[in-house]
Amino acid sequence: MLEVKNVDAGYGKINILNDLSLKARENNLTLLIGPNGAGKSTLLKAIFGFVKTSKGSIEYNGKDISSLPSHQLVDHGISFLLQRVSVFPELTINENLKLGAWAFKKDKQKVTQQLEAMYDKFDVLKQKRNEKAGLMSGGQKRTLEIARMLMSNPKMLLIDEPSAGLSPKIAKEVYQILHGLKDDGITLLMVDQNIRDSIGYSDYVYVLEQGSVSSESKASEVEANLKEVVQSWLKF
């Protein structure tokens, strides 16, 4: 589905990713873990084109997407949840959601249909639909970002720290939503520090250190040795 091959990327002259390769298999949730500053966010940004690659290729369904402008990736079914808060604070929740349908904005009926589907799924959003997004709580903003991302009917999601700053209860809800997306045939590549909670929902795990993959394995194997993994983790 998505294959990153020998990629170098960074900011200006500073290189962050070194000859990095990994795969996100179709309809899997692929988990990316690693210490702070390892380059996890940089990798997602490089896939989405926010960070320029200087070497290697990024293939999506066999096609190199590394030179496409970022805004065109939506048309290919790729969507991105940033690590930081990314709601449009001065727009209403309804306007935020509608922008998620930008790719097919001319199809009024489909836009309405998607909006209704999101409001059915996320009751908080429905109740506050005409309020400004900036006034919502952290968890509600994350929910809005996820719903907005789903408006475009994506096939592949890049997700950076879905549960950052959320209470355990809301984090659990968010994981369940994301996990449920697999049933809709969506492929997920997800960065998460919170390995204990996310591993159970994952299929495959990559560990990133200093801009390269240091190890990879099936999630079930990691889960079995979670204690050891977390132990070695603490050494970082």
């Binding site: 449009f88 001065e90 922008l99």
Partner: protein
């Protein structure tokens, strides 16, 4: 009570000019909101608008309304092209000091356009066909019909802009872009194209103001300097990037100027705006609408 009628006349004139400045300031605010660029060539788009209406009405013999519409359309296109040609390096990480780059490049554009007009049209003042001649009798006071038409058109242009910004997909995307460029890109919005459109729209609003005021203040190469400075005063006054602020700021400026002219002296007309700015910033350092956003 004898002073009341002339005062009313001054105030009416001040408000009329205020509405037209509001159009120009709104354009400046739109560009700043979306592109985070202070357009130092704004006065020259105003000047271009005036010249285009002059060419259309005097040289081509078209109706003044057509001249104004032509000014809006042509300045929109010129603005878009200028943005594409000059400002794109900012978004491709090609320049290191983006703010300084934008400042210098729009400043350079301003000097270029001013001198271009000087070469093409010469230094002399020209006057386009007014929208209407004669005066409108409003009972106690009479106002030149040309100005009435101008202010009505200015209000129509402003209403159209506000409609676009608040009610259309394009407007929602522009507001989104002004708040979070990366998040907009993730939605599939082409930030570069929309940036050009925003710049074109902003420039076109200055062009419209220039075309509307051209019969009143005449047309010459440096005609845009004072209105541009006033637009800067207005948007600082009304808090950078606030749409409400731009509109109320312009009206306030128009009123204060006419009061100053009436009670103090007409010679300092252009100085009153700065006095107003200084007083307001002393009381409210963030401007009248400090903290509020580009939206609404």
């Amino acid at each position: 009570m004898d002073f009341l009628v002339p005062l009313l006349a001054q105030l009416t004139n001040g408000l009329i000019i205020g509405f037209i400045y509001a159009l120009m300031a709104l354009g400046l605010t739109l560009i700043f909101g979306v592109l985070k660029v202070i357009n130092f060539a704004h006065g020259e788009f105003y000047m271009l608008g005036a010249y285009i209406s002059y060419i259309a009405s005097r040289m081509l013999g078209l109706h003044p309304i057509i001249g104004i519409i032509a000014a809006v359309a042509v300045v929109f296109i010129i603005g878009m092209l200028m943005e594409k040609a000059l400002l794109t390096p900012i978004y491709e990480d090609k320049v290191e000091r983006k703010d300084e780059y934008a400042l210098l490049i729009t400043f350079g554009l301003s000097i270029f356009l001013m001198n271009g007009a000087l070469v093409v049209f010469g230094p002399y003042q020209k006057s386009p066909e007014p929208l209407a001649s004669g005066v409108l009798d409003l009972g106690v006071l009479s106002v030149s019909s040309g100005r009435i038409y101008a202010v009505v058109l200015a209000i129509i242009f402003m209403a159209a802009t506000l409609f676009i910004i608040n009610k259309t997909w394009l407007g929602t995307a522009l507001r989104a872009l002004s708040q979070d460029r990366d998040a907009s890109t993730i939605m599939g919005i082409n930030a570069k194209t929309l940036g050009s459109i925003a710049f074109g729209l902003g420039a076109a609003m200055a062009g419209a103001a220039g075309a509307l005021l051209a019969p009143v203040f005449l047309v010459f190469p440096i005609m845009g300097v004072v209105p541009a400075i006033k637009s800067f005063v207005i948007i600082i006054l009304g808090s950078m990037g606030s749409i409400k602020g731009a509109i109320y700021g312009s009206l306030l400026l128009g009123i204060v100027e006419s009061l100053g002219v009436f009670f103090l002296s007409p010679s300092y007309r252009d100085g009153y705006s700065f006095l107003l700015l200084i007083i307001i910033l002393l009381v409210k350092p963030k401007g009248l609408f400090g903290g509020s956003q580009w939206n609404n």
